[in-house]
Amino acid sequence: MEGLLLEPTLYTVKGMAILDNDGHRILAKYYDPTIFPTSKEQRAFEKNLFNKTHRANAEIIMLDGLTCVYKSNVDLFFYVMGSSHENELILVSVLQCLYDSISLILRKNVEKRTVFENLEIVMLAMDEICDGGILLEADPASVVQRVALRTDDIPLGEQTVAQVLQSAKEQIKWTLLK
């Protein structure tokens, strides 16, 4: 029974992926260089993963010695991978955070088109959820807050009068503080 106990480590996530409904990668990150070290191996894994999961809405599967939890919506598939010994519920927390954060960012229109329209924010969100295999933040509201577009990122024409006033006030405040 040697080695069954889980290693006390923060490195719990082996990978995260968002695939489209043809199984093509939209975004994917692998955090453990010992699994799928090359892009080719990653693609092969993703293809296999997609083939095994795109019809069965089963939430969890063992594949290539990894525990993969997943969730799909319209034309997107979200995956989180961990070691086969990892606590499955922690992996589910990561998946839920990934999905809910993106859903908040896209204002509930979780589909391929909106992901591509907001790709930079989705990239930033993934980076806020997992850092090098460590779960960095599990609360979607915090993730969204950390990647939030602030008023000065909205083009002037699309801002409300109140927002323009607010940002003007801020700017005056900062000038005074300097």
């Binding site: 029974m1 069954l4 106990l5 889980l6 290693e7 006390p8 480590t9 923060l10 990668r25 975004l27 994917a28 990150k29 892009s39 080719k40 990653q42 693609r43 069965a56 089963a58 939430e59 969890i60 599967i61 063992m62 939890v69 606590n87 499955e88 519920l89 922690i90 992996l91 589910v92 927390s93 088109r113 591509f116 790709l119 930079e120 924010i121 990239m123 930033l124 980076d127 850092d131 090098g132 460590i134 779960l135 960095l136 933040e137 599990a138 609360d139 915090s142 950390r146 990647v147 939030a148 577009l149 602030r150 000065d152 990122d153 083009p155």
Partner: protein, 357 residues
């Protein structure tokens, strides 16, 4: 909006399809324009990062040129663009040369007043800092670990752990800060602090004993931290050997079966099952919990439960017999992994009658 529609038509509806590496890298020359135009530069940087994510390879020269062009974007105050630059720094840090050129820009952002930048800047900075450079930012790292902003503290703790691989001796000196961060109100900071602290202390058996004794008494708020503590406690139990009859550590793990978080309850049950020297009586509370999880509506929890019961069936098959009915129900589970695990578990408990049915 009209302009975008036109562009989308040209690109077949998706501006990220059929991107050509050479032309995207050429577009990156726009980064040198002054003043920086975020509305032009952000999509270009996004395309570069997208190509890298798709597995596109950059040569050292290409990566270095792109990296240096990207550093020009530090002149912009646009938050999204700045954050994308941090991401770009991390992605290119291992491919480009002379990446330490951005050290001062990142140190400035790390110590600045914009919280949105500070945390992300720390993570980017640590990706380009090597052991020999670490002492120049050591003071800031120690401050960041105990920062009252949770994202800053977490970023510093997680980055410290990454850097302990290459600069273990320096990171070891931050043990007091990590200890202080365990008391944080943020559940993630508490989790990350425990992870770093354990990593620093793990070779010192006495220190770990003290740490576990203290933390098991103070009831950590973070379920993730409690899971981590369960794992540490079990490592200690294995190290100490012997039976668990009067062990405070074993009692702690068992007490976690009554935690309010399912994640912790399952962690404790799985830990007890995987401990080497348990008696049948000692694992039976864990088995009762797993039995309840077998009828959960969540597939991941049913999967976790049956996978763990499968292990108990190898060490203490009679204890699992009480779950046979629940396992039989799982044979027809819509998730094939669950169904397969249920069948193999039943075979081990020797319930041939069930298999016949």
């Amino acid at each position: 909006a009209i302009k975008r529609d036109k562009k989308e038509e040209e690109d077949g509806g998706n501006p990220f399809q059929n991107l050509d590496k050479t032309s995207v890298l050429q577009d990156a020359r726009t980064f040198n324009d002054t003043p920086v135009n975020p509305r032009k530069c952000t999509p270009i940087l996004t395309k570069i990062l997208f190509l890298l994510n798709q597995g596109e390879q950059l040569g050292t020269t290409e990566a270095t040129e792109t990296f240096f062009a990207m550093t020009k974007l530090f002149q912009s105050k646009n938050a999204v663009l700045r954050r994308m630059v941090y991401l770009g720094i991390k992605e290119l840090s291992t491919l480009a040369e002379d990446v330490i050129i951005v050290t001062s820009s990142l140190t400035k952002d790390m110590t600045g007043r914009e919280d949105l930048y500070r945390a992300a800047a720390i993570r980017a900075l640590c990706s380009i800092t090597d052991a020999s450079m670490l002492h120049t930012i050591e003071r800031y790292m120690k401050q960041a670990i105990v920062d009252k902003n949770a994202s800053v503290a977490s970023a510093a703790l997680v980055s410290s752990l990454h850097m302990s691989k290459t600069a273990g001796d320096v990171v070891k000196r931050w043990v007091n800060e990590a200890q202080e961060a365990i008391n944080s109100d943020s559940i993630m900071v508490q989790y990350h602090a425990l992870g770093l602290l354990y990593h620093i202390r793990k070779t010192d058996r006495l220190a770990v004993t003290k740490l576990v004794a203290k933390l098991t008494r103070m009831s950590l708020k973070s379920p993730f931290a409690v899971c981590m503590l369960i794992r540490i406690a079990c490592k200690q139990l294995e190290r100490e050997g012997g039976d668990y009859a009067d062990s405070a550590l074993f009692d702690f793990v068992e007490s976690c079966l009554r935690h309010k978080s399912e994640t912790v309850i399952y962690e404790a049950a799985a830990a007890m099952v995987n401990l080497r020297n348990t008696t049948a009586r000692q694992v039976s509370p864990a088995v009762s919990v797993l039995q309840l999880f077998c009828s959960s509506s969540k597939p991941a929890l049913r999967f976790a439960a049956v996978r763990t019961l499968n292990k108990v069936a190898m060490t203490h098959p009679p204890v699992v017999t009480s779950c046979n009915l629940d396992l039989e129900n799982l044979i027809t589970d819509s998730n094939r992994s669950i169904a397969t695990l249920a069948i193999t578990t039943l075979l081990k408990t020797g319930a041939e009658s069930a298999v016949d049915r």
